[in-house]
Amino acid sequence: MPELPKSKVGIIACSGEEIPEGTITRLAALKVLESLRPHETVTICLPLFLAGGEGDRAFARLHPTIAVDGCEKRCAARGTETYSGKPAVSIVVNERASTDDSGLGSARKLSKAGMQVVNDIADQIAHDVDQLLDLKQNRRRGPQVEGSESRNESKSRHAPCSCGSEIPTLTLQIAGREVTLIALPLLFAQFRRAGKSPNDATKFELMRAVRVYNSISNADETSYEEAIMQEYSAFCARSH
């Protein structure tokens, strides 16, 4: 039984050429990739991603991603969601930059203030990377799943991975339809090993972990929570 994919976070920047905020996303992402968190992050090239780069898309499906956009159009976040899944974190520079457009310099050449925003955004990205990986690392202690019994409501399978190994999945009945959730058996095993009983605190943590690998809309959250916690309770009962 494979483990969860090795801990890394994908950074996808819009690199928009028309506004300085686009250049800021590019430079901030590169700063994280090259110096702040070089071993913990992977760059996802947005043009390649959009053009059909399967390696990048597969990576973004199985690893948490941070989308960094220059403006509210959120091209990087929307592209990621379209082709792989909702990013774990979405940063929009012009919502965070404290200097107005003219103070940042031009898209081609940022001002000193613009470079300071680059540093601030890079620090934010690095912090988010740490948060995401801390989540994953705490859950990685645990035995491999021995095997989950299939029930009428849930089916255990494997999601194909481009490396040829397979990430376990579980299909649940959620709000009257079948939903396949990536990595759920492994998450259950890790939470169980960590001694987490099926309660509200565990529910919060588990849902946060599930969201790293699966896209869940806010509207569906309650029904997902119910189904996942029910399944986790059954998993814990079987493991006794």
Partner: protein, 136 residues
């Protein structure tokens, strides 16, 4: 063909030639042919906005790709654009063999030279698209 020519760089983040494509595009649209070209961000094409698609479908595009995967050319074609010239920075590299850029985030001297050479080639292509004679 009249009207502004769209310049669409890939701006790929993983390679230095992506940065060269980006800088070369700025040189074309801001210095060499500012009134005859417009830079179109590739990322915008993912949104599928009507305005962008209309502009794309009614103009000639020159795509500039930093690697052989040719993402800008593919995405523009997929979005309904007319790619009149699909430039590869690697080909410009071959024509200037001693000019090798080494950085991505900030172009070094070689990177800027290559970007300039690229921009000059694009200018010639813009001229040919618009059937204008270059000024002396």
């Amino acid at each position: 063909m009249k009207g502004k020519v769209l310049i669409v760089p890939c701006s790929g983040i993983g390679k230095s030639l992506g940065s060269v494509a980006r800088e070369g595009s700025y040189a074309v649209t801001e210095e060499l042919c500012p009134d005859r070209t417009r830079l179109m961000p590739l990322a915008l094409l993912v949104l599928g906005e009507k305005e962008t698609r209309t502009e794309l479908s009614s103009a000639a595009a020159i795509t500039i790709d930093g690697c052989v995967k040719a993402c800008a050319a593919k995405v523009v074609e997929g979005a309904g654009g007319t790619v009149v010239h699909a430039l590869q920075v690697l080909d410009v590299c071959r024509r200037h063999p001693n000019v090798k850029p080494s950085r991505i985030s900030e172009l070094d001297n070689n990177g800027h030279k290559l970007a300039r050479a690229l921009a000059e080639e694009v200018r010639v292509l813009v001229d040919s698209i618009q059937e204008e004679v270059p000024h002396a």
